[in-house]
């Protein structure tokens, strides 16, 4: 039995340490430690409700808009306010822009560089992969950074800037568009589509989204091996990434873009309605203390307790009906019954390959609908609705960040924020054990992984396949 500590993990957006025990070179148990605590839930207490829109985006520089939308939704619910139609469309566009930029950043900057490591030098695909994806020097990075920066010009028009905009409000958006700006946006979306069709897929987006089975995907790969998606699929097949990092196979999506991707829980091919009341957080193995070890978010506490016996992470352990779930693009696409992802997951479950495929598929699925949202904006109609803020109220905001389900639970008393709890996507995916000893999603996904090299490269693939955002995780 060997015990190892791995850290720091980079290319995970924030701080992460993984400990594991292995027997005969195979992981038998793992412990995931989110090693930074900042205390945003405490910062918010006592603030004026609308200030949540200033503080919460700053939880995270990569999910900033998602945090903003969750806070705006929680406030809107507290106010009983429905955003204007234009406000909803613009919010969809800004959130989709961030989510797709994150998918791109994840694939090129965070995930693929691990396949350019020396450990793979003897692989037939190595030199092409290293030339294309090597960290910082790979040939892909120049064009990807340019495409990403120009894609985020959408936020320059709609949100002032990215990250950390204050344009998304409970009633919609602070930035009304003029007619020519709507056309400018359409051109930016088309320009990004052209980049995806030239570099990522070397195919039309609609051709990619029509793929519906593993066989069709393999045939497509053979014909598109010069695309970056094709390059990934090739090495995923060779390395059998679909047999690596299988998780709980229980998937949660809050639903995205006004339920364009629906809400639900996917278990073994069945889609169940989400019962929000069944969401709890457990602090048994967190450096936290509270009256109740397991609490619904409206009753959750954030009291750090360093040196607590048996604890090993600042992250709390969210559970749905007492069970561990996985969240992310794969969950969104399963709950949306997307044929390809459903087919792949039914064959091999949630794993390194299917998580990454789901993310790239979303790039192809969401850009076309963004074109439609943009066309649907009615110039001259209102972008922001207004209502007074009640002194006493509660509200929940539930959105899909790039990396999965994000929830804000807000309580107002005497006109101030009395209580605020946040459960972020990676809180779900990288949670520690709960009071029953159930390991979190990543902890489960790591069990059974062979560790053959000093860098434990397979552990790195599994960790990064979740696209973790550690700064959101603990907040």
């Amino acid at each position: 039995m060997t015990r190892r500590i791995l850290g720091p993990f980079n290319r995970v957006e924030g701080d992460l340490e993984v400990q594991f025990e292995s027997d005969a070179g195979v992981i038998t148990q793992a412990w995931v430690n989110s090693s930074l605590f900042r205390g945003f839930e405490r910062i918010l207490v006592g603030k004026v409700p609308s200030d949540a829109l200033v503080y919460t985006p700053r939880i995270c520089g990569i999910c900033s808009v998602a945090q903003s939308v969750a806070a705006a939704q929680a406030l809107a619910q507290a106010q009983g306010l429905t955003p204007t139609l234009n406000g909803q469309l613009v919010t969809n566009l800004i959130l989709a822009c961030e989510n797709l930029a994150d998918h791109l950043t994840h694939f090129y900057l965070f995930f693929m560089p691990d396949f350019a490591r020396e450990v793979y030098q003897s692989q037939p695909w190595f030199s092409d992969t290293a030339q294309r994806f090597k960290a910082q020097s790979g040939s892909a990075h120049g064009e990807v950074l340019k495409a990403r920066a120009e894609w985020l010009h959408i936020t320059g028009i709609l949100a002032g800037k990215w990250p950390h905009s204050l344009s998304i409000q409970a009633g919609g958006s602070t930035r009304a568009l003029e007619a020519q700006e709507k056309l400018q946006l359409l051109l930016l979306i088309r320009q990004f589509r052209a980049f995806l069709e030239r570099v990522v897929f070397v195919d039309q987006l609609e051709a990619v989204t029509q793929l519906s089975t593993a066989d069709e995907l393999n045939t497509w790969q053979a014909a598109h091996s010069n695309s970056d998606f094709g390059r990934f699929l090739q090495l995923a097949n060779r390395l059998k990434l679909n047999g690596l990092g299988r998780g709980t196979d229980r998937f949660l999506s809050y639903g995205a873009y006004g339920q364009y991707f629906p809400q639900g829980v996917w278990v073994q091919g069945q889609i169940h309605a989400l019962d929000v009341e069944q969401i709890t957080e457990d602090i048994s193995h967190s450096w936290m203390q509270a009256e109740q070890r397991v609490a619904v978010p409206f009753q959750g506490e954030t009291q750090p307790h360093w040196e607590k016996q048996g604890a090993y992470s600042w992250c709390k352990a969210p559970r749905l009906n007492g069970k561990v779930v996985e969240t992310g693009a794969i969950a969104r696409q399963l709950v949306a019954q997307q044929p390809l992802i459903t087919n792949l997951v039914q064959a091999s479950g949630g794993n390194v390959a299917t998580r990454v495929i789901a993310r790239l598929l979303e790039l192809a699925r969401v850009v076309p609908v963004m074109e439609q949202w943009c066309q649907a904006i009615q110039i001259g109609e209102p972008f922001c609705a207004h209502a007074s803020m009640p002194d006493e109220a509660q509200g929940i905001g539930m959105v899909e960040a790039a990396r999965g389900s994000l929830g804000h639970w807000l309580t107002l008393q005497a006109g101030k924020i009395a209580h605020y709890q946040i459960i972020a996507p990676t809180t779900w995916n990288f949670s520690p054990r709960d009071e029953l000893g159930q390991a979190g999603a990543l902890e489960q996904a790591l069990v059974g992984t062979p560790v053959e090299d000093t860098g434990a490269v397979k552990v790195q693939h599994i960790v990064r396949s979740f696209d973790p955002c550690m700064v959101c995780t603990v907040h």
Binding site: L6, P8, F9, N10, R11, E13, D15, E17, L36, F37, R38, I43, G46, K47, V48, V54, R58, C60, G61, I62, T105, L109, A116, K134, A135, Q136, L145, K146, A149, E150, L152, I154, T155, I157, A159, G160, K161, W162, P163, H164, L166, S167, Q169, G172, S173, R175, A176, E178, P304, W306, W314, I379, G380, F383, C384, H386, T454, G455, Q460, V471
Partner: protein, 331 residues
């Protein structure tokens, strides 16, 4: 020049913003300015032991450290231990590592208001005991004391902002790498004057509304946001409206007020962001170098002279009355 980039009590947003650099893009700029990124948490290959070996090589002077960038507040809690942020894989606090590494650097750069002054993480009760590297809010002297200087003789260079504009960071790094940064290029809070010699107010597209004190009353209104909506652009030190964000943006252009995010302790305001506190109907926090009586006199005069077009457009989302031309007919 070698750059080592670390994050502590950070959201990572200044790095994400830096990736928005255009013409040249970030990687092109590094090449052009002869900057060698030893390690960055989002961009580098090295993980785990590879990275810890690199830190050791810096501490033993095997690898020269020209520029140490810190993004995020220094986390000192609980009770000064720094245990709220352990550098993963080391069982030591980041606070501990920062004390060692800052001693090795020719230049230390605090990227963002968190690393500079404490920033958002230091808001409210500041349970994390978050602070800036050399400032705690506006007070000089923090983890590094007031007289601390890096090997090149500089205090911590505070590229404040929440987040930082990519050009503020790239311009400063290029100045350092070309040996063009002088002490007098830093302002009274050790921020680069390259952007803090300007005000957010400069180039604000709402300037006509400001001139006439035609004010926005609610989010999304087109008018000036100073009188009612908490805008601090007339005091805030930055060039946001002359060097735009993400192509064509800025907070004001996005329809929301400047919250003065480059200032120390901007997060500690005593009222709501987005609401202007007033005494006897007069906003407190007028432009910093304008006599109050003058401001009040000018404001009442200009309010009286406000054209109908400006008055109307100030309180709507989209231009209701366009400007007209005086001489429509031919001579």
């Amino acid at each position: 020049m070698n750059i080592l980039w670390l994050q502590s009590g950070s959201c990572g947003g200044c790095s994400m913003s830096l990736l928005n650099a255009e013409v040249p893009s970030l990687y092109e700029l590094f090449k052009l300015a002869d900057l060698n990124l030893l390690w960055h948490p989002s961009l580098s290959e090295a993980s785990h032991q590879e990275f810890l070996d690199l830190l050791q090589a810096v501490l033993t002077d095997e690898i020269p450290l020209d520029i140490l960038c810190l993004e995020g507040s220094v986390i000192c809690g609980p009770k000064g231990s720094g245990a709220f942020h352990q550098l993963a894989g080391t069982q030591q606090s980041m606070l501990h590592w920062l004390k060692l590494l800052t001693a090795k650097a020719q230049y230390v750069v605090a990227v963002g208001s968190c690393a500079a002054f404490g920033g958002i993480t230091a808001a409210g009760e500041n349970i994390a005991e978050a602070t800036g590297l050399q400032y705690d809010g506006a007070l000089l002297g923090s983890v590094l004391d007031a007289n601390w200087r890096s090997k090149a003789g500089f205090p911590v260079i505070n590229i404040a902002g929440c987040p930082t504009h990519p050009a503020w960071v790239t311009n400063t790094l290029v100045q350092i790498s070309m040996n063009a940064l002088r002490l007098e290029d830093l302002d009274e809070f050790h921020r680069p004057r390259s952007y803090t010699n300007h005000l957010v107010h400069h180039g604000c597209p709402r300037n006509e509304f400001y001139e006439y004190k035609a004010s926005a009353g609610k989010p999304a209104d087109l008018g000036c946001m100073m009188e009612h909506c908490g805008c601090l652009g007339t005091q805030a030190r930055a060039d946001c409206n002359t060097h735009l964000w993400n192509g064509s943006g800025s907070c004001l252009r996005g329809g929301y007020p400047c919250i003065n995010c480059t200032a120390p302790a901007f997060e500690q305001i005593k009222h709501a962001f987005g609401v202007t506190p007033k005494i006897a109907g007069i906003p407190i926090g007028l432009p910093s170098d304008m006599p109050k009586a003058w401001f009040v006199a000018l404001a009442s005069l200009s309010k009286a002279a406000t054209p109908e077009r400006v008055r109307t457009n100030a309180v709507v989302e989209q231009i209701s009355i366009p400007p007209s031309s005086k001489n429509r007919g031919r001579k």
